[in-house]
């Protein structure tokens, strides 16, 4: 059994958006939840915005590190990739000199987990925004 959107061939784009898939990805990448807010899904967007910004801030507060892109260290590279999935907060935090990483802090690894987790969740948010713009999801 197929969903109504799939049975009619190409799904209809979100009507009120005026936003293409690329724009949705860009908005969600820069600010978590911004694409959903632009699509008129205010509750969903607000929850994503608050939770992911909180996770990012908590990660910094716990002493987590903003990892650089380092190809010689694959895990550091992947951590950096995940953290860059929350672009604007990542940029602002780096500009403010935050995220040096307090390795001796008890919560250092939790900090990294929160920072990386926020980025990974925002990747899912970006995919969800594309699905909603293209009509795969209501």
């Amino acid at each position: 059994m197929t969903s109504p959107a799939r049975s009619s061939g190409r799904p209809a784009p979100a009507p009120e958006a005026g936003l293409g898939p690329g724009g949705a990805v860009l908005m969600a990448w820069l600010v978590p939840g911004a694409a959903h807010l632009a699509l008129g899904q205010s509750r969903r967007g607000a929850v994503i915005l608050v939770v992911l910004l909180f996770m990012f801030a908590a990660g910094l507060g716990f002493g987590g590190r903003l990892f650089p892109f380092q190809l010689a260290e694959p895990l550091v590279f992947l951590a950096a990739l995940a953290e860059w999935a929350v672009a604007l907060p990542r940029l602002l935090a780096a500009a403010a000199g935050l995220g040096e990483g307090r390795v001796v802090a008890v919560t250092y690894e939790f900090g990294n987990t929160f920072l990386i987790g926020a980025g990974l969740l925002n990747m899912l948010v970006m995919l969800d925004a594309v699905d909603r713009v293209t009509g795969r999801k209501a």
């Binding site: 929850v47 939770v51 992911l52 909180f54 919560t107 929160f114 987790g117 969800d128 209501a138």
Partner: protein, 56 residues
Amino acid sequence: MTSHLGAMLLFAVCVAAVFGVLLRDELGAQVRLAGRIFGALAAGAYLLGWMMFLAF
């Protein structure tokens, strides 16, 4: 906050909230799914913690 359990629960709440709003449309269903995910994460971590404590 330096409690590992507290930090883990906080992380579980955040992850559950995001999955809840992404995967369900109605508020009640979102809350129910988030609760289930939170419970699974918290119980799983607690169980795993005990298993590691007993095994190592």
